[in-house]
């Protein structure tokens, strides 16, 4: 993992023209051919293990039930979608899950920012070490980390025990665990280190000469931050946001562990139809709806943010 500042394209020797590079690139191969060869394995991989299953799922959502062979020709039907249209609570839950994901993604990105800022500008020689320390929790299982939150929030957990110890409360607070708030808190915690990475990468790309120029022109640190650091790091912040938002909409493990009876998310309903109900057609239809809704949201968000402009 290299997050040390590496010279990106603008830093490379300036006088090397396009023609020279091709001639002296040392590839021994035409660039395009190389690219095709390099793209081939991931392309096959994605095709087999992402695109094909997605298409299969889409096909399943137009199946009337799971009877008979799994792979067979069936008459497409909209029965599953019609059934879902009748159940208002699923749609409502999708909205709630999207709002939760929105909150989690915004909070994780905001909380990760100071971390990334510190690592980028004040980490010094120890930046690598700090980064490793921050990522160490990811070497343990996700389940283990969420279970640790159960120990923190439970009725006999750390927080309740402490509050009782200092006599702030007499009876343990039952509300800490087994509700939506617990799910949100846990998810934010889980995502912060992930959200930090793209922000860190963006901050490390900022050239020092910009700060020097700003200082020469009399800009105070606060102005340097609002005029240089923040705008230039925004692409990283948005990358962090989407990195958290998209998987969180369909989250189902955390709600099972800390959400209780009332903390279910849309992903739990999908999971139930696959693993508890053996109703793959309905589960597939629910998944397709979530996929389309998330894509739509991301599309609108990208339009609003105008990511391309930011990146240039």
């Amino acid at each position: 993992m290299t997050f040390a500042p590496t010279p990106s394209l603008p830093h490379s020797p300036p006088k090397m023209g396009e023609g020279e590079r091709r001639a002296g690139g040392g590839w021994g191969l035409d660039h395009r051919a190389t690219f095709r060869w390099l793209i081939f394995p991931p392309f096959v991989w994605l095709g087999l293990f992402l695109i094909a299953p997605l298409l299969l799922m889409a096909a399943f959502s137009f199946r009337s039930d799971l009877r008979g062979d799994l792979l067979q020709v069936w008459t497409p039907t909209l029965a599953q979608y019609a059934r879902l249209a009748e159940v208002g609570s699923y749609w409502r839950l999708l909205g709630i899950s999207a709002l939760m994901a929105l909150g989690v993604a915004v909070a994780a990105a905001i909380l990760a920012y100071p971390l990334a800022y510190f690592l980028a500008f004040h980490g010094g020689a120890a930046t690598g070490l700090y980064l490793v320390l921050l990522l160490v929790p990811f070497w343990t299982s996700y389940l283990l980390r969420v279970m640790a939150w159960k120990l923190m929030l439970g009725t006999e957990g750390v927080i309740n025990s402490f509050l009782q110890y200092i006599h702030l409360i007499e009876e343990p607070l039952p509300a800490l665990l087994y509700n939506r708030t617990a799910v949100i808190i846990t998810l934010i915690y889980v995502w912060i280190p992930f959200a930090m990475l793209p922000i860190l990468a963006a901050l490390q790309r900022i050239e020092w000469s910009l700060f020097e120029a700003a200082a020469d022109l009399g800009a105070r640190p606060f102005h340097q931050f609002t005029r240089i650091t923040l705008p230039l790091s925004l692409p990283g912040v948005f990358a962090a946001f989407f990195m958290v938002f998209i998987p969180t909409v369909g989250e189902y493990v955390t709600p099972i562990l800390v959400g209780g009876s009332s903390g279910s998310m849309y992903g739990n309903i999908i999971q139930d139809f696959f693993t508890k109900a053996a109703n793959w057609p309905l589960g597939s239809a629910l998944s397709m709806i979530m996929l389309l809704a998330t894509l739509l949201f991301v599309f609108i968000a990208i339009r609003l943010i105008n990511l391309r402009e930011l990146l240039e």
Partner: protein, 365 residues
């Protein structure tokens, strides 16, 4: 390139001819009168089972008799999961479903008939257990483990005791209730309470059941998915009253937690786990040997002593002397089985409707 290809072709042809010759020699020959001794038998079996059941304790007789047979385990998370895997073409030789889900395997042609004449322990299985694995008067499954479902409660928190399934809906226990995360399970409880015919739930009844469980949700702390989760929460005192199998009851008793297992006036529920052999397996004979040894005594004793579940071998059950276990199985209550409701098999329509009902309970505002 061309020579390589033709070489490949020649070797393929040779291999095919050889294989044909071998089968030709092998097929018409009568089965050898004396089979290889068990200790020398080799081969490989794959079992699709529930987490925990892969422990050697639960197939110890097979392990000891056939030490050179390689047994692999795949783990299924629920009946629906195991069914889904088998349907998707899982190559496990043996799988472990529970009552309620058996007929789907028969209907879909996923299970092979069992040649009970080759099972040496078959006569130790009571007739009513055998019938659970029979469809169209053929034996498709062997019954193996069984147990009760009832209400488990902390006697220190509920000193007055519990005598009805409606305790799961009792506001007095708000925030300390836990229901199993399962639609058909919820339908079962409601039909006991309201005396519905569980095998013929009407649409109106299902709608009423849904409303009942939506109302229950605000009292319920969490829906448990695995027994350890429930045991932990009852031990810590978070949960006072829960839908539970008697494995949880015996575990908590063993740890000295003050708990009791209700005998509701509507009757307890009971379920049976069975083993089936995948249709088309190449290891049919070996699979039969595995199932036969699953019925043997040492394995059965481990099921009873380590998992606190019942075993289909009657000799194992009559041999129980441990007081905790006797209590768990209500062995001393001669009328317990008469008061017990056995889990009926579901139709595909019921399965879909009941599981969808449960999803709507969870998604409800």
């Amino acid at each position: 390139m061309e020579t390589k290809l033709s070489m490949f072709f020649v070797t393929r042809c040779l291999a095919l001819v050889l294989a044909l010759a071998l089968t030709a020699c092998g097929a018409p020959a009568p089965a050898p009168a004396t089979e290889a001794p068990p200790a020398e038998l080799t081969g490989s079996l794959t079992v699709l089972d529930w987490a925990g059941y892969d422990a050697e304790d639960f197939w110890t007789d097979f392990k000891n008799t056939y030490p050179n047979v390689n047994v692999n385990f795949e783990i299924g998370a629920s009946d629906a999961d195991i069914y889904g895997k088998m349907k998707a073409g899982d190559q496990a030789d043996i799988f472990h479903p529970y009552t309620g889900w058996l007929q789907f395997y028969v209907e879909e042609g996923l299970v092979e008939e069992i040649d009970t004449s080759k099972l040496t322990n078959w006569d130790k299985v009571p007739e009513n257990f055998k019938e659970i694995g029979q469809f169209n008067s053929k034996q498709y499954f062997i019954p193996w483990d069984w147990g009760f479902t009832s209400i488990l409660y902390r006697t220190d928190r509920v000193p007055e005791g519990i005598d009805s399934w409606s305790a799961l809906m009792d506001p007095r226990f708000a925030g300390h209730l836990s229901m199993w995360d399962d639609g058909p399970g919820a339908v079962t409880v409601s039909s006991y309470i309201h005396e519905y015919d569980e095998t013929a739930i009407t649409e109106d009844q299902l709608a009423a059941i849904k409303e009942e469980w939506i109302a229950q949700r605000s009292l319920n702390l969490f829906y448990w998915a695995g027994e350890p989760e429930l045991v932990d929460a009852m031990k810590s005192g978070d949960i006072w009253v829960a839908y539970a199998w008697q494995g949880a009851y015996a575990l908590l008793l063993g740890e000295g937690v003050p708990v009791a297992y209700a005998n509701p006036k509507e009757g307890r529920n009971s379920w049976v786990g069975v083993y089936g052999i995948r249709k088309g397996t190449e290891n049919y004979e070996l699979a039969l040997k595995f199932l036969d040894s699953k019925l043997a005594e040492a394995t059965g004793n481990n099921v009873v002593n380590l998992f606190y579940y019942g075993h289909s071998n009657q000799d194992v059950m009559t041999g129980i002397t441990d007081e905790t276990l006797k209590q768990a199985f209500s062995i001393d209550d001669p009328a317990i089985l008469e008061k017990t409701n056995f889990t009926p098999n579901l139709t595909a329509e019921q399965r879909d409707a009941w599981t969808a009902m449960w999803a709507e309970v969870k998604a409800a505002p």
